[in-house]
């Protein structure tokens, strides 16, 4: 009897070990543990076992059952797991196939540049304002120290509507409107469109500028340069270099043109920067006290600086846009590259 049980255990474990599918596993279970299974048969025959051995045989038989059941359960887990893996293998996809669903579009590069710059200005304490694009001669010229027939008007070919109303030629009227309505100290920045009577391969009649104005006490050129340098670093990175040149604007005195490391060639020299490694960054200067007084600000107490670059060129350079006309052409093949 004991020998038989040992035999059953050995056979059973071996059978379970050899199994490869779930169906056969069930057969093995029936064969050994089922109602007519080998072990069951043995157990049924227990009554024929002498009483003094019955306890011992019973214990061995039970042990055989537990071991077989355990082996079957383990095998079951193993086989089920294998099937799951096989099923998952069948679901495998080609991950290089294209994605589905609505694809994102893109902001215009100009908006992205503007947003970045406005963020920067607000962090530096500027208030973002907006002023009209159709302006009076007073705000566009006279209040900026450019009286009628002043030669400085030649610098800007204007689009006129009437003798006294025109498409603003720069965002500088925002300076005057701010000075008239805000109390110093203040910092303002005004992004927007400007218009010129100019349309050729390198000029667009409509382009974008922003105007920044700081009015405070004790402000000088060095403060101006410190702020501009910080802006350049945030826009172009730590290793940006600056260069200052004299310039002329009727509303600032002294007036300067500030160049920063050319972002096309990173200062190595290219056709855009004519080999100098620098390209125009901001133009501006110390607000002419005449302007402050005209707008009702005490020039003995307050001083300030103003600057206002065209940003289309910066957008072109930072995005390596080959032609200024792309900015307004709205060709999907161009816009898609801005994702």
């Amino acid at each position: 009897m004991k020998e038989k049980l040992k035999e059953i255990l050995k056979n059973g474990l071996q059978k379970v070990e050899e199994l490869v599918d779930l169906k056969a596993l069930d057969e093995v279970r029936v064969k050994f543990l089922g109602k007519t299974g080998e072990l069951t048969q043995i157990l049924r025959g227990m009554k024929d076992v002498p009483a003094e051995e019955r306890k011992e045989v019973g214990s061995i038989a039970n042990n055989v059952r537990v071991k077989l059941e355990e082996a079957i359960t383990n095998k079951l887990c193993e086989l089920e797991n294998a099937k799951l893996l096989a099923d998952m293998e069948k679901e495998k996809v080609d991950i290089t196939e294209p994605s589905k669903g609505t694809k994102k579009g893109a902001l215009h590069p100009l908006t992205r540049f503007n947003n970045k710059f406005m963020q920067l200005c607000v962090e530096m304490g500027f208030t973002v304002i907006q002023t009209p694009e159709i302006e009076t001669d007073y705000y566009n010229f006279e209040a900026l120290n450019v009286p009628k027939n002043h030669p400085a008007r030649d610098m800007q070919d204007s689009l006129y509507i009437t003798d006294t109303i025109l498409m603003r030629t720069h965002t500088s009227p925002a300076q005057v409107r701010a000075m008239e309505t805000m109390k110093p100290p203040f910092k303002i920045v005004c992004p927007g469109r400007v218009y010129r009577n100019d349309n050729d391969s390198s000029h667009s009649p409509i382009f974008n500028q922003f105007e920044a104005l700081v009015i405070d006490e004790n402000i000088g050129l060095k403060d101006f340069m410190t702020m501009v340098k910080e802006m350049a670093v945030r826009l172009y990175g730590e290793d940006v270099k600056m260069r200052v040149r004299p310039s002329y604007f009727p509303f600032t005195e002294p007036s300067i043109e500030i160049d920063a490391t050319c972002q096309m060639c990173k200062g190595k020299g290219c056709s855009l920067c004519k080999g100098t490694g620098f390209s125009e960054f901001f133009g501006g200067g110390i607000v002419n006290p005449v302007i402050l007084e005209m707008s009702g600000i005490d020039s003995n107490k307050y001083s300030g600086f103003a600057f206002g670059p065209g940003i289309d060129r910066s957008v072109m350079v930072t995005n390596k846009i080959p032609n200024i006309k792309y900015l307004f052409r709205n060709d999907l093949r161009f816009l898609k590259q801005m994702k």
């Binding site: 694009e133 610098m155 203040f186 006490e217 006290p289 709205n330």
Partner: protein
């Protein structure tokens, strides 16, 4: 402004190279935009002396010349017929690259070697105006006293370097050689050498010959001189060379002298032929309406009172400050002349030049402003040239009529402390005073005050800031290239703030980008025909457009009052180049005048517009985009059929705010409009007023407790007349459900003739929920029956049977 380097040397001792001077001018505020080398095409060209001419052994039309070019002899084969033994000619040798693009290499002409080529005037870039014989059809024959071997650029005085200087409008005094020379002196701390003003007269009195009467306010000063016994001839080569370098055609000594003074002193002049001045009078006056004048460019202009003229007793002879008339100009027969040296008001000259579309060297200078004192020096300079060239006899006396006060040397007081504050860096007081004096501004310091004596030409200097700029531009702006140390000392803290509308627009932009849209930028100027293309009715307020008075082109002649035009053009353009699946948006402005012609500034309204041209896209997808956009706002709105003329009237809606304002519209573009833009696919369009939307109060949220009890859903498909709308049905369902209504959603619309004529089936999912118990199916059934009855009663709706 063209400035000759050689000319500068008349007034400054320069050993520095032309390139270095250019660089220094640029960094001190006079940007040299271009450096032009007059001798660019003249290297390797020499004066040659033809010693012997022989016939070419193989070619009848060629001759072989032995030519001495100084230290060596060369052999030149030529077909030119005007050369002769003993002639001096320009010889271009190997390496030369001529003005017409010819590169010189030794060549073989039928077995005979030629070391180079003889040159014509044209090949050297000159003509008869510059050098006698330069326009002949053949080789330029040089004067007999030429030196063989001399560089041709030296022999012909074409060895100058010319700067194209950008003179800023605040420095009209620098539209002259002497003005720039003063700057060069300041840059290098050199002394300015005065021009030669000396001349001798021959007695008599100018007033015996000519009288001047100034009858207009626009001429603050008029000076004149009289010269007789004129020897009219070519100017000497040095003078022609100067004019040629800066691009002025030499004509004859009298005219050349006036042009020379214009360039050197920045003072326009005019020379009259005295014998044609009727009444021996010069009258400066405004023209009479209808007067005519034929001027030197050959055109005849009809004048009016706005034009200032120089006239004689009878007729206008010059358009003042702009151009001379042919009736009194210097000609070969001229024997006596009157020099005019005047100041005309810059506005008057500017307007006249613009009126006739004339831009002359003279009008350009007057338009920038000529100093009241300038004629004093300029006239002296012109007369000294007449004397120096010995080309006429100068009569005693000068006519000088002026109404304006002549400028005096002005004193201004500035503060050292204030200048230091403006600059933000330390420059010693002594250094400042040194720089100012180099600029011709004699200055001295007393405590904090610096007193500056301004030269009469420096009308631009008025306050501390002006003086600060003078100091720093000469001191050098490069001190600011690397700023460090403390800044903003004594300044205040300001708090930054975004612009609400711009931020709002950005949030809309981001929603659209997430929905697959690309942002476009469009011109806010367009053609007036946009209103027609968009089918705006005759009384549409948007037809009141603002017109540009001086438009670039018809396409850019009108300030836009409608957004849609731009995006439709974008769609048409993209389709034309083969782009598909277009989703575009734009944030921009329209400009609506309050009245026309414009008396006050118009209303500028900010808007967002979007257009979709994509297969499978429909009105309801567009509606979804619109809803997503409006979801971020607190706008409560209803939809009505749109009144936009450019939208399909059956497939479009206006979004109307509670107060009745039309906030925007969306829908399919009208088929005629599509045709007008040559678009052959459906386009969906939407537009909103972002000024309105961004001004709404922030959206507020008030959430409720989540119910403990489950929701129950029932699907109802009902058949109704085609004209019954979803909104009507939804509202009816909602009100019939009463308290246990949770939500209702249309999930299918089905049309089939079997449903009946003009009928449709609308399938709704109705969701019920109670806040205080679990609903039983009896309760739900009762409510559903109530809903069906209500729908039948109100719309004749039937539960769908099939």
């Amino acid at each position: 402004m063209k400035i000759s380097y050689n000319w500068l040397k008349d007034f400054v001792d320069l050993t520095e190279s032309a390139e270095e001077v250019a660089e220094k001018l640029t960094v001190s505020g006079f940007e040299v935009e271009d450096i032009i080398y007059v001798n660019k095409h003249l290297h390797d060209v020499y004066v040659g002396h033809i010693e012997k001419i022989e016939r070419h052994p193989q070619a009848d039309r060629l001759v072989v010349c032995q030519v001495n070019v100084g230290d060596k002899n060369v052999q030149i084969v030529t077909s030119a017929t005007n050369v002769f033994e003993g002639a001096y000619v320009p010889v271009s040798l190997e390496g030369a690259s001529l003005a017409n693009g010819v590169e010189i290499k030794p060549t073989n002409f039928r077995g005979v070697k030629s070391d180079g080529m003889f040159c014509s005037g044209e090949e050297l870039g000159i003509d008869d105006n510059y050098f006698e014989g330069a326009s002949v059809n053949g080789i330029l024959i040089l004067p007999k006293d030429s030196k063989a071997g001399q560089k041709i650029e030296d022999a012909l005085m074409l060895n100058d370097v010319v700067y194209d200087v950008n003179v800023t409008p605040n420095r009209p005094d620098c539209n002259s050689v002497v003005g720039i020379a003063h700057e060069v002196c300041a840059i290098y701390g050199k002394k300015f050498k005065n021009p030669d003003y000396a001349y001798k007269t021959v007695g008599e009195n100018v007033e015996n010959y000519i009288s001047v009467d100034v009858k207009t306010k626009e001429c603050p000063r008029y000076m004149g001189a009289y010269i007789k016994d004129i020897k009219l001839e070519r100017s000497p080569l040095w003078l022609r060379s100067r004019l040629h370098a800066v691009g002025i055609k030499p004509i004859n000594n009298m005219v050349d002298i006036t042009n020379y003074v214009l360039v050197e002193q920045g003072q326009p002049m005019h020379a009259f032929d005295y014998k044609y001045l009727d009444g021996k009078k010069i009258v400066v006056r405004q023209a009479e309406k209808g007067e005519k004048i034929t001027v030197l460019n050959g055109n005849t202009y009809e004048l009016d009172e706005s034009v200032m003229v120089i006239a004689d007793a009878e007729k206008p002879v010059v358009i003042a400050g702009v151009i001379g008339g042919v009736n009194s100009c210097i000609s070969n027969q001229t024997t006596e002349t009157v020099f005019e040296c005047a100041v005309f008001d810059l506005k008057s000259v500017r307007l006249t030049a613009r009126k006739f579309g004339l831009s002359t060297d003279s009008s350009a200078r007057y338009s920038k402003g000529v100093n009241i004192n300038s004629p004093t020096f300029a006239l002296k300079r012109a007369l000294s040239l007449v004397y120096q060239l010995d080309c006429g006899k100068i009569v005693d006396g000068i006519i000088d009529k002026y109404s304006a006060k002549l400028a005096e040397e002005k004193l201004i007081k500035v503060s050292y402390a204030k200048i230091s504050k403006i600059l933000g860096i330390e420059i010693p007081k002594e250094k400042m005073i040194q720089i100012l004096s180099d600029l011709g501004v004699e200055s001295f310091a007393q405590g904090d005050v610096i007193t500056c004596k301004l030269p009469y030409l420096r009308e631009d200097l008025k306050n501390d800031n002006d003086i600060a700029e003078e100091i720093i531009r000469i001191y050098g702006y490069d001190v600011y290239n690397n700023v460090d140390g403390k800044s903003f000392e004594g300044a205040n803290v300001t708090v930054g703030k975004f612009n609400e509308r711009l931020s709002f627009e950005n949030s809309l932009k981001n929603i659209l980008v997430d929905s697959g849209f690309y942002e476009t930028l469009n011109y806010s100027l367009y053609s007036a025909s946009a209103c027609d293309k968009l089918l705006l009715s005759a009384d549409d307020v948007r037809r009141n457009v603002i017109k540009i008075a001086n438009p670039i082109s018809e396409d850019l002649s009108t300030v836009r009052t409608v957004m849609a035009h731009a995006l439709l053009l974008d769609v048409a353009y993209n389709l034309s180049v083969g782009n598909k699946d277009l989703r575009f948006f734009e944030v921009g402005r329209v400009y609506q005048p309050k009245s026309l012609p414009l008396k006050e500034l118009p209303v500028e309204n900010n808007r967002i517009s979007l257009a979709v041209c994509e297969s499978g896209f429909d009105f309801f997808e567009l509606k979804g985009v619109v809803e997503n956009l409006l979801l971020g706002t607190s706008l409560e709105y209803k939809l009505e059929r749109s009144k936009e003329p450019y939208l399909h009237n059956g497939v479009s809606a206006d979004v109307i705010a509670k107060n009745g304002t039309v906030v925007g519209s969306f829908g399919k573009i009208h088929k005629t409009v599509l045709k007008n833009y040559e678009i052959n696919q459906d386009v969906y369009y939407a537009e909103f007023d972002t000024d309105f939307l961004s001004s709404l109060p922030e959206k507020q949220f008030a959430t409720k407790e989540i119910s403990k009890y489950p929701t129950v859903e029932r699907d109802l498909a009902i058949v109704v007349d085609e004209k019954v709308t979803n909104a009507e049905l939804e509202n009816a369902i909602k009100s019939a459900c009463g308290k246990i209504f949770f939500e209702v959603k249309l999930f299918d619309v089905y049309r089939n003739v079997l449903l009946g004529k003009d009928k449709k089936s609308m399938a709704y999912k109705v969701v019920f929920m109670s806040e205080d118990k679990t609903l039983t199916s009896e309760e739900i059934n009762a409510v559903v029956n109530k809903v069906l009855k209500s729908l039948e009663f109100r719309f004749g709706a039937k539960l769908r049977q099939m």
